[in-house]
Symmetry: C2
Subunit: 319 residues, 2 copies
């Protein structure tokens, strides 16, 4: 019998779950719609009905030892989610819900922290004890690892790098503040940047033919790859803002590396090069040239399940 854990990642649209060994092998993986307008109880019933059915085929070979859950705004200390965006849930005690189905060790954290633990266990941060995971998706999430443990702070909500200020009195953010880092450095951030640049510059660009509502990081990437100046400059500007913020992060946390994950990170050097350049320009002398800025070692498709599974593997090891 091989020990395995169940990793569950609850997203706004889909919930992915799967069985993972201690080495990071995914035995099986499934996806179901989250149906965020229904109560959380409904989702967990569907998860465990489907899981129990699939796991039956494997139960002679594998032994389920823990369950990890990653979810937006998941609070590690409380094991609960409070008013998550895009889900009509209010307050939900996730750990209790999970224990109704399987009374084994369970843990909850937010998606960026889960990605960080996944990176440490199975990805580009193997062997590292101090690093920062940046997830560049629709928004910007971050998971901070200090001495091999996720930094949760006093109330479990540390690591909100997406909401440090990047530009004083800058763009309006969904959180109610202005100028938050994620309004610049994220998939939606680069769309806003392109929209501004189309207004500022006079160069022709294929992006001028796409309405704002249909712009995407992918389309901007394609334009940049085709040599479009507006698109290339949008990546440069995004990287500058991100690099400046990362230099400040380094001054506070002194990490060994910063690992970049998520949709926008797939633009590769288009985003990494300007980010690296402006991080270096703004680092204190004793950090210059010493901080690794690297791409995630987790594949986009597997990261969610690996991260939430790594969360509980990590608990089982350290407790």
């Amino acid at each position: 019998m091989t020990d395995v854990t169940l990793g569950i990642d609850i997203g706004g649209t889909n919930t992915v779950f799967g069985i993972v060994t201690e080495k990071g092998e995914i035995v099986f993986k499934e996806s179901i719609p989250t149906n965020g307008m229904e109560p959380a109880e409904d989702l967990f019933e569907r998860i465990f009905n489907k899981f129990d059915e699939s796991f039956k085929k494997h139960s002679s070979e594998y032994n389920l030892v823990g369950i990890g859950v990653g979810a937006p705004d998941g609070n590690y200390y409380k094991g609960s989610i409070e008013n998550p965006p895009n889900l009509n849930w209010g307050y939900v005690n996730v750990k209790e819900l999970v224990h109704k189905y399987h009374d084994i060790p369970a843990a909850l954290t937010n998606d960026a922290n889960a990605a960080a633990i996944g990176e440490m266990q199975f990805g580009a941060a193997r062997g590292m004890k101090n690093f920062v995971e940046i997830t560049l998706g629709t928004g910007l999430g971050s998971g901070i690892v200090v001495d091999g443990k996720v930094l949760y702070g006093h109330d479990g909500f540390a690591g909100e790098l997406g909401h440090v200020n990047a530009v004083r009195d800058g763009r309006r953010c969904g959180c109610g503040k202005k100028g938050c880092l994620e309004t610049y450095a994220s998939a939606t951030g680069i769309i806003r940047t392109v929209s501004e640049m189309l207004a500022t510059y006079r160069e022709s660009s294929p992006l001028r033919d796409i309405p704002y509502s249909e712009l995407s990081a992918k389309k901007i990437y394609d334009a940049a790859s085709g040599g479009d100046k507006i698109a290339i400059n949008a990546f440069k500007y995004t990287g500058r803002i991100l690099g400046e913020a990362l230099a400040d992060t380094v001054a506070v946390l002194s990490p060994e590396a910063i690992v970049i994950f998520g949709g926008l990170a797939q633009a590769g050097d288009l985003i990494l090069e300007p980010t690296k350049k402006h991080m270096e320009l703004n680092l204190l002398n004793n950090y210059k040239g010493k901080i690794k800025l690297i791409n995630s070692g987790l594949s986009e498709g597997d990261a969610a399940v690996l991260g939430s599974s790594a969360l509980i593997w990590n608990e089982l090891k350290t407790n």
Copy 2:
């Protein structure tokens, strides 16, 4: 016999050392000139000559169990100091130097981290496990405590909040960068602010009669206490910049409290009120009203010895 530790604080001008019990009682305390142009060996010889002489009188009552050293740029991991500002030392292995005199547990850290540990052991952060100590002196130092331990990061240099960016392309900093927080929020920072405000506004002010080289935080405080608008606005501006930076710090670290220590902090509400106001204005909703912003519980005169002594008390407890 009561166990005691020796706390040594190396400053640019003076070095203070003293004997401290586990409860934070200072048995005796002495100060000698640092003479930073002489080699470090000379300083430690003078420290231990003087210390051994003074300790003789107490040696029937007290048992020396450890030595803690706080110094600018002190590296906890390496036990060394590298090219400290104001000291002509180059690279010095402080732990080795200390062990030449007393072969008992010793530890080194920088002055802001020592202040943080002192605060946790003997001051306003007693019982706290997650907080940030801000030292507002000539510059701005910070010590970050996570889960009851100082955050050192990968190379021992974490907690350089004085050098996060406060104003993009702002004032030149001694570190070579522009716009660092300590060029605004510190004793020298407020002097620079007054100088700018004297140029910007037309109000009469007693500060117009003092040359830049003779301005001090104390004189600005006195002017503000007397109702001078320029001085009051300089404190407001300093607090705004500091409060904005602290809001970002909260988003990253989620501390229970921020403790303010040092010369400029003695201005009390003149600096604390605007700092609190602008921190709150820039906090994410889930932090609003929850982060304590408090004055240090260590007296200015004793803090250096208490901090460096607390450093080694903390080591002895946790190891």
